[in-house]
């Protein structure tokens, strides 16, 4: 009785994504081969893998750097959002006051101001961390506030009935209540963090990370190299999502979203 649902969910979790990837790559390969597309427009998966195989170390090192940029920015955004969110739930005034700024950050095209941030913070890692964190922040703040607000009113009364402190209500009730919405946002933000890091790496004068390779390749019309960085990004994004899914299973096992059917 216990192993059948387990087997089903393993098939769902492992086999289904692999099937999806293989089919996608096959269609891609066939499209490029049959239509004879130019490499810079779209490179066939087989050629990308061939190119990656020539200098795996370089791409691996660059991927690690991009991962570091994305992860630091992502985690910083999450931490700031939790701190800010816990202040904003307590004060509707502060929430209203912050909202326009957050929307501004969210809709301002970061590509347009990356060079300003690089000029401000200098070359290298700092602008990558900062921009990534900044762009990821608004969605996390919105998720934190609405999640903390969603704490069950019956439970809130219960905490009030024993005079629980603000801190206890936050830590034992509001924070766990905000986890489902934070995870939903994290799934979306992990990809965003990678993209922002990639783009900053293309303009932070440090020649490090996948973004730097991509930028160079684009400047000299080297389709293989450009698409190889895209390929690495896809892998990083997939790993990031996988990691979040694992964390979710562990931290959110009690939530309805974690039950199949």
């Amino acid at each position: 009785m216990t192993d059948r649902p387990g087997a089903t969910s393993r098939r769902l979790r492992v086999v289904a994504p692999i099937v999806g990837i293989v089919v996608f790559l096959a269609v891609w390969e066939a499209f490029v081969q049959l239509r004879d597309v130019r490499p810079f427009v779209l490179t066939a998966p087989s050629d990308i893998l061939g190119y990656l195989g020539k200098a795996p170390g370089d791409f691996f090192a660059a991927s690690l750097i991009t991962t570091r940029h994305a992860l630091v920015g992502f985690v910083a955004a999450l931490i700031v959002a939790l701190l800010l969110g816990s202040v904003l739930v307590a004060s509707p005034f502060a929430e209203r006051a912050t909202q326009p700024v957050l929307v501004l950050i969210q809709v301002a095209p970061f590509v347009a101001y990356i060079s300003s941030i690089v000029l401000w913070l200098g070359a290298g890692d700092p602008p990558a961390y900062f921009t990534t964190g900044l762009v990821c922040l608004p969605a996390f703040v919105f998720a934190a506030v609405s999640g903390m607000r969603s704490a069950d009113p019956a439970s809130r009364e219960l905490f009030a009935s024993v005079d629980a402190s603000r801190w206890e209500v936050m830590w034992r009730l509001r924070l766990p209540s905000s986890m489902p919405s934070l995870f939903t946002t994290a799934r979306y933000s992990i990809g965003l963090a990678l993209i922002v890091s990639y783009l900053v790496e293309g303009s932070n004068f440090s020649d490090e990370g996948l973004g730097a390779i991509g930028k160079r390749a684009a400047a000299s019309n080297v389709g293989d190299a450009l698409w190889a960085t895209v390929f690495c990004m896809v892998i990083l994004g997939t790993l990031g999502l996988g990691l979040i899914t694992l964390l979710e299973r562990w931290l959110l096992h009690w939530h309805a979203s974690q039950r199949t059917v």
């Binding site: 069950d152 019956a154 005079d163």
Partner: protein, 256 residues
Amino acid sequence: MSVAVELRGVSKSFGDLPVVQRLDLDIEAGAFVSLVGPSGCGKSTLLRMIAGLEDPTAGTVTIGGASPAELRRTKRLAVVPQQPGLLPWRTVAENARLLLEVNRRHQPADHPDPLELLDEVGLIDFLGAYPHELSGGMRQRVALVRGFALGAPLVLMDEPFAALDEITRSEMRDLLARLLERHPATVVFVTHSISEAAFLSDRVLVFSPRPAGVAADVTVALPRPRPPELEDTTAFVEVCAELRHRLHGAMYGATS
């Protein structure tokens, strides 16, 4: 160990809507008092004022000589809500001791062990289960245990069994009666069930429609302890009949 509750000239309005008007009420220490009355008459509001979760517009609530705020601060007041309000990320055992874990500065001196209480209500095999793995009745039992774990001298319950089916409901009622024999407290209990009120109470207060006032104060002179079979006795049926009659009177303004 239980406390008396004293209401003096308590009124409450929400905006222009008077919900409770100049209510004087004495609840003796150790009594089980039920509040019945038409829907929307202000029973929950009254209970929340006794708990200090809502401030009266006028008048005072005193519990064993102290204010509701003081009782909440020292964790000498237990609330059992209509919805169990269990935290879904906590197991049964963790939910049962939730109230002991917050506001630790005021740990009640000799509170019952939550695990023993869980055993008493038949949940000892479910300590590690999560709320979503429990039936509605089991969840409400955890909520009862969570309240009783404080060993509070005053327990306030707002229709705690309203969401349950008839059979589970009477089981819970018997369970509550047994828990109270072992862990006595003053209880204020809101219910819509006449037979529940008759079975559990020493005294039933029948409220008139909003603004709430006491239309009838019925003493239930049935002997204790009260076993489930009590329900089949003529004495019990008579109490129920009287309560029904009083409630009808309160609602439609016939006899008083």
